[in-house]
């Protein structure tokens, strides 16, 4: 099969690149080994400092509403973290204070939302908090299975019964000016968080839960749907296992499912992520890139890969595939002409592009622009 561009990796970076290219009329395929890091998405894109209309528009066309307001957001453990660009359900606050009285609402038997930590964190900021665990008959079925009371399963039920929750909260609400809820709303129906906000006469703050992330899954679904609507080919659950490279450019990709049916293209984008997603592999001796055998910037001694303090920055997380200034991937020090690396496989080798979601989007757009420019020429 032939495409203009084959993208390896179907996470945030791969989808942003794919959508941008499809929109410009290029035929693309995305190879995705299973689901991706969007499933653990915090809801905020890291390290995007400038107001990014282009990004907001790209997501809006997919039905994902973002908002940009530099400030902080409330974290599940009751701390605050700097944030700028976020999904609309994430409340961005100008300062680490959200009101004077908060009602924190969760569900009996649900262990992936940490009310007491939230309350303690907010009390430190001078707020007073009340925790209320709702007993909903609709959740009883989930309770029968010990592994069912997780964010996604609850979100499925909430898609149906969110109005009951709003009603319960309205009855519970005394003089609180803020209601804090877990992010288990709007898995399929994106309008639910907004409608909950309208239905409760107080400021509503949706706060993260243990993964999988409900807004993350929704974002993945909408971006993928948009990509496919634009005509993109999303090969779900397939894995790139090798590549044919001749004279410094990639000719085709071999995948596990397609076997000897190779995927040919003019451009290739490597967006396979870091360690978790297996974009980078490691053994006791080295960190490597498995598909092309690209150069990976790393410390030679394994003992230098780590900081013994868990909470400190870890050196291994900075390592990534070596690229030139235009994100062409390097092999044996030489750039491969039609292969680009984007997203977290870059580690912190391009620190000007940031980390996490910011890096994924920025590098994806930069490479899409380049591909469009070169094929124009």
């Amino acid at each position: 099969m032939k495409f203009n561009t084959v993208i390896i990796g179907g996470g945030l970076a791969g989808l942003v690149a794919g959508i941008s290219l499809q929109k410009a009329g290029r035929s693309t395929a995305i190879i995705s080994t299973g689901q991706n890091a969007l499933h653990f998405f915090s809801g905020s894109f890291e390290s995007i400092e400038e107001a990014p209309q282009r990004i907001i528009d790209l997501f809006a066309e997919a039905g994902v509403r973002l908002h940009y307001a530099p400030g902080v957001r409330l974290m599940p453990m009751g701390t605050f973290k700097k944030s700028t660009l976020s999904l609309e359900d994430i409340s961005l606050l100008p300062e680490p204070k959200i009101g004077s009285k908060a009602l924190i609402v969760s569900f009996s038997g649900y262990h992936d939302f940490f009310c007491s930590f939230l309350a303690e964190g907010l009390e430190k900021q001078g707020m007073s908090c009340r925790i209320k665990m709702l007993d909903l008959p609709e959740l009883e079925k989930l309770e029968q299975s010990p592994s069912e009371m997780r964010s996604v399963q609850i979100a499925r039920t909430m898609d149906r019964i969110w109005e009951n929750v709003v009603r319960e909260i309205r009855m519970l609400l005394r003089d609180e000016d803020t209601v804090i809820l877990p992010q288990v709303f709007g898995l399929r129906d994106t309008s639910i968080p907004d409608r909950i906000r309208q239905g409760i006469p107080a400021q509503v703050i949706f706060t993260g839960t243990l993964p999988p992330s409900v807004p993350g899954i929704r974002t993945q679904l909408l971006l993928k749907r948009r990509y496919e609507l634009l005509g993109g080919t999303y090969l779900m659950g397939d894995e790139a296992t090798g590549a044919h490279v001749h004279e410094g450019s990639v000719h085709s990709i071999v995948t596990h499912n397609l076997g000897n049916h190779f995927l040919e293209a003019e451009n290739f984008i490597l967006a396979t992520g870091a360690y978790f997603s297996k974009g980078l592999r490691s053994n006791p001796f080295q960190i490597s890139e498995p598909i092309f055998g690209l150069d990976v910037e790393q410390a030679a001694e394994r003992s230098d890969w780590y900081n013994p303090e868990f909470m400190r920055e870890q050196p291994y997380m900075k390592y990534g595939v070596a690229t030139d200034a235009t994100l062409h991937a390097l092999k044996d020090g030489e750039p491969i002409k039609n292969l680009y690396a984007i997203g977290s496989i870059l580690g912190e080798t391009h620190s000007e592009m940031g980390t996490g979601g910011g890096l994924a989007i920025r590098s994806a757009l930069a490479v899409a622009d380049q591909i469009l420019k070169t094929s124009e020429e």
Partner: protein, 408 residues
């Protein structure tokens, strides 16, 4: 030295990062609180089972083996294989008569075919349905697939010579459905292949691929079938033939389940077994042509069956359908229809089965296509029964859309 250069475990369960993404995509978990979910049943449970088979949980039987967990797993863990392998290894509960009946698709087919009109009438009767429900716990709300009065093998026997006349040849693993229920699909494939200048021959007596036996815990029978089928596939491969299929579930079973679940070595034939859609696409890609009817018009919505999703070959069906000039194509969100082979036929699963499929049924209704395309016969029954829309194999749609003179 190979010291820790790679790590491996059976069905690579140690690569599980406990991220729980699989549980978000498991169709059973959404509707059946008795099922522990793919993560618990698969990699988590495996560690405990390795400690002591006592930790085997009989609720694993609720797994549909749809493999959506494997497709979703970011770590590539063979979650469903782990679960099915555990069932094969540890589940000693005797197989129920009902399950035997449902799993023995070719036996039932042979039995029913000569008396097809009666069989169809009888299985369609309210009283029979009630009886089957009561005796075998086969849900009375189910519509049974109709049996054909003649088998595909019989039809092929009559066209053997004509097919042999083509210089290029392929073999066809038609499966029980084409043979006993719907020979038309086989005929559609023959038409397309003939149009491409390719003749079709049968294998030297294929048996049911055995997928229903695997999911119903009939390991011995399934292994017998697998061994036999690998043998007849080898004969075809030795003759230099590709073996084409039209059912995604049979294909997955022949290629992947035989070695991984039954321990039957198919390495000599695996790469020669291929969905017909892929074979045809590749032919066309290499320059072969088909003549399409100029006035053909159809709004087609494609549903990716679970096992097609796992095979990763839905793309070939999609591209073929998009190639037909008059087709307006919509890709449905990939989700399980709920039938999962024999699963949905069992009374205890009926409600769950329908609930699993609901989002798909809703989407189909909102797209409102002329026809739903899908490469799996059991999905076809489920979708037709639940939505009223006609479901066709992409091969049938393609056959309908092309012009071929020699058609008889």
């Amino acid at each position: 030295m190979k010291l820790q250069e790679y790590t491996s475990s059976s069905h690579n369960f140690e690569e599980c990062m406990k991220c729980t993404v699989c549980t978000a995509y498991c169709p059973v978990l959404q509707v059946n609180p008795l099922y522990p979910g793919p993560k618990q049943a698969g990699p988590d449970g495996e560690r405990l089972r390795l400690k002591d088979p006592f930790f085997f949980n009989y609720a694993l039987k609720y797994c549909l083996n749809c493999k959506r967990c494997e497709v979703a797993c970011p770590s590539g863990v063979k979650v469903a294989d782990l679960i099915q392998a555990a069932r094969i290894k540890y589940d000693n509960a005797p197989v129920k008569w009902r399950d035997r009946l449902l799993a023995s698709t070719d036996f039932m087919g042979r039995l029913a075919r000569p008396v097809a009109p009666i069989a169809n009438a009888v299985t369609g009767l309210g009283v029979t349905k009630t009886m089957m429900d009561a005796m075998f716990k086969i849900d009375h709300r189910r519509t049974f697939p109709k049996y054909s009065p003649y088998s595909f093998e019989f039809w092929m026997g009559r066209h053997e010579k004509e097919q042999a006349a083509f210089s290029e040849q392929v073999a066809y693993f038609h499966g029980c459905y084409v043979n006993y229920n719907y020979p038309k699909l086989g005929k559609h494939l023959v038409k397309i292949l003939n149009a491409l200048g390719v003749g079709v021959q049968l294998l030297d007596k294929e048996k049911c691929c055995g997928i229903a036996m695997i999911t119903n815990g009939m390991k011995t029978e399934a292994t017998k079938h697998a061994t036999h089928n690998v043998e007849v596939l080898s004969k075809a491969v030795d003759k230099g033939l590709m073996v084409l299929t039209t059912s995604s579930s049979c294909t997955l079973t022949l290629r992947d389940e035989y070695p991984s679940l039954l321990g039957v070595d198919n390495s000599g034939v695996r790469d020669f077994v291929m969905m017909a859609t892929r074979y045809i696409y590749e032919k066309l890609e290499k320059g072969a042509t088909l003549r399409f009817k100029p006035d053909y018009k159809k709004k087609v919505a494609y549903h990716t069956p679970c096992h097609m999703e796992k095979l990763g070959w839905g793309v070939f069906s999609e591209k073929l359908l998009r190639m037909i000039p008059g087709v307006e194509f919509t890709m449905l969100d990939s989700a399980c229809c709920g039938i999962a082979g024999t699963y949905g036929f069992k009374r205890e699963n009926y409600e769950a089965s329908q609930a699993i499929g609901q989002p798909l049924f809703d989407q189909i209704k909102s797209v409102n296509p002329d026809v739903v395309a899908c490469d799996c016969e059991t999905c076809k029954w489920q979708i037709e029964m639940s939505t009223g829309y006609t479901v066709m194999n992409p091969i049938s749609i393609l056959a309908e859309a092309i012009e071929y003179e020699k058609e008889k």
